[in-house]
Amino acid sequence: MVAHAATRPHYGGTLRVESRAALPSLDPSQSIAPAEIALRDSVLSLIGDTLVALDANARPIPRLATRWQSDNGNKRWQFWIRPGVFLHNDASLTPAHVAQSLAAINPNWKVRANSDYIIFESELPLPELPVELSRPSYTILSRASGQLVGTGPFRIEDFQPARRLVLRANDDYWNGRPYLDAINVTLSVPLRDQALHLQLGQVDLIELAPDQVRRTSQDNRRVATSAPSELIAMVVPNGSSPAEDPRLRQAISLAIDRVAINNTLLQRQGEPTAALLPQWISGYAFLFPSNRDLDRARQLRAEVHSAQAPVTLAYDPADALARTIAERVAVNARDAGIAIQPVPAMTNNGAAAKLVRIPASSANSHAALASIASSLDGAELPRVLTAGTPENLYAAERALLDDFRIIPLAHVPESFALSPRIRNWTAPRYGGLPLHSVWLEAAQEAAK
């Protein structure tokens, strides 16, 4: 956490950001790789607003919706839209815009616009709908004339997927103009290059892998780290023939030395876990034992009588840490007599399993679990949205993990290295880029 209370906020300046994400699309209605979600969520929070936000205690607070109410056993919800909000195309935000935006993201919802509010109707109760709507993926956006237009503090000036994104400050933002004039995001930059560019002063903000954090700190660089919120997991899709036997998947899970992965590969920056949500969000992650049990793993492996073909484990070839983790999983599995072959392929072409990184995107356990579940192909949370109690969340998470198609490994924080001129960095605990509140020190001041 960085704060310079003695310095007066300064308007202006362009923040230069680099990311390894390619960001093929900003539209939340389009599916992208889990590793891309964190940056997209951050960008969405800059170009738009959700109806509801979460406070420091992860409780819903008004955003574009000024108030809401439910009836009929949480099957019918009404959200009153904030007046005087303008889209980046100078059009006034209407309930119709909101209803269209939400319907585009979730076609299953029945959303109707009224004069100054929208109505949700569902056959099932939706007790956590406000929390759900706080997720960045439900950012209200207008898709008029094929362009994404939001209400956020920044508007899109230029977007070239996998190359660059330029955001310009929205002077008419309903919640006050941001300090920055512009944000230039260079996409698809490897982590090593980002570190080099930061050293050369060519960039203000870069991403850090967990194994870079300690070294970067030792180099007296400014490092901003969230709580461990990003899930690193091995996912085995349905129909993966080499790992179709759940006992084999369980054996893999039991064979993995998560502590060693966290201590060495993640440089103790994360938390070893066998749960989807981190302990600090859910409070019950300890109920999912993450200890290594090699004897039990071998026993399970022995119960799988058929000769096992190597389980291919795909990882992001641009992510060196992912490769090392995949190789470590293979080494651990080998101890249990299971052959795992790491393969550098992000598209999961023919691979039996893949190594994924999924951001929590929210400090709220319901929203976070929903976010994680929605990021997993084929994973469903049938009861999460209908019952938001901790017991139900635990049951839902247990249901997701029971067949070992998702094998959590660790929760890691989102980490960034910042140039000295970045001020007022107030990132939420679950991560993300709080660039709407950041201001840049003037050049003379920075030189001091």
Partner: protein, 618 residues
Amino acid sequence: MSLRTKLILLFTITIAVSVALVTWIATLRIRQAFNAADAQHTAALITQFRQEFARRGQEVTSSLSGIAEGEAVQRIALEALKPAPDYSTFVDEARALAESHQLDFLEIVAPDGTIISSAQWPARFGYKEEWLTQAAPDWSAQPAFLKREELPDGPALALVAVRPVRVAETTLFVTGGIRLDRQFLKSLVLPSGMRALLYTNTAPGFAALSLEDAKGPVTNAAKLAPLIQKVQVRPAEISSVVQWDATPAGSEAFQAIPLQGRNDELLGILLIGTSRRDLVEVQTRVRNIAFIVGGIGIFVGLLLSAWAASRVTRPVERLAAAATEVAAGKWNTQVEISGSDEIAQLADSFNQMTRELIEQRDRLVQSERVAAWRELARRLAHELKNPLFPLQITIENLVRSRDVGPEQFDEVFRESTTTLLAELSNLKAIIGRFSDFAKMPTPQLQFVNINEVVRRALKTYEAQLTGVPHPSPSGEGANRPAITAKLEFHDGIPEVLADPELLHRAVSNLILNAMDAMPNGGTLVLRTRQNDGSVRIEIADSGTGLTKEECARLFTPYYTTKQHGTGLGLAIVQSVVADHHGRIAVESEPDRGTTFRIDLPVRPETHHTGDARGASVQ
């Protein structure tokens, strides 16, 4: 097979064998030379491999020493001194150090054998390298050695070394090296036609993918499986030839050298392959040249041998033909002489021989003729002298009796005229016998039973054989001891085509001779029997016998061993036998009797024996 054919064959075979022998020797020498060169190349390559191996080992050792003394490892060593060392920050050190020192393998190992950082398999941190701590020699003095290195994609063969890093009481280990693979093979300088293969012995049995050369995996590697399996069973240098395809040039000689680790475990096999293509091509070229030269040689040899053989054999053939003519009685045969070589000398000698034969024959004929005339004169003188002397005495008595009285004269006259008539008659008989010999009649052939002929001839002399005193057929003596005649006739003897009277006369002469040969009596055996296509008559006596010289001249006309014989008897017998195309032979020894054998053909025309007429003596 003629001499010429034999000579041509001999020449051809000699040329072919010579060419084959030269080809074989040349091929053998070439093979030996190639084998020697291959052995030298292989030995040089093995030496080069070992030198390269040693050089790389020194490089590895040197690199590890540098790493061990470097700042990075020293920092790790300092961390190891802490009560609870945290090695997590060093997990990537090995990779960077390996890259900077161009090592394929590098591991930094904690004092308890735990991997702190691994370049070749970063994910293996925290695992133990027990071989480093279990058998702990003085690693600082250990040279580089071969080791099986575990990698994510399978085991590999590595040339590694270990260097300890001592800080205070603790000792870290830095172990690393280079991979022995196709890159290492590429660094070897190979002579043309040779290649080096490396088999990584990762598992029992043969694995084709573990075999590679400088270009990569070896195609059709299974052909090398037997050789590799032999080395796996008994790690030693072994040679073998591998036939890659059906052509002779498709073979390759391999020398397998086991590559063993510190504990003599077989970790790899170096295979030095030498293509036999050059050898086979040279051998094929030599063989083709030999075939061409041999073919030309045989062709030329055939021509030359035909020419030479004709030069040699033509005179010989002429000589052979001349000899055949001489054998046929044409003694005046002469051979054409050309040149002055041995064959010409032989031909000249042949001509000389035939000339001398003719001269000797002429001389012999002349001398025999003279001898015959002398013998005839002696016989005539002898035969004629006997009656002439009584004639002379009788006439002289008659002349002297004119002086005595008439009665006495008349008596003398009567006696004298009787004597004269008797002697004249005797003279006429002598002349008649000579006349008969001169006028032997032509045989009147008819089927004759030989047994009957012999029996009739014996019957003529039956009275003289009984032992009763009787005058001898020749008129000598009054009594003679008894002669026992034995007839041993073959009953089934076939009739022969012959003149019975002439045969009777011949057999009678022989019986008479036998009787004369037994003045003191004895046994006369007359025997007939059948031979193959002929019949035999044997007249054997137990008389005084004959010497060899007598036997040799026995059939000569006018020769006789008797006091008063004319010497014509056996000549007549021989003449009769010859006229019947038969043969007569005599077998005799002094005091053991004599046996005459007459063989007559059943059909005379089918058994023409020529004039040999065959008389033979045993």
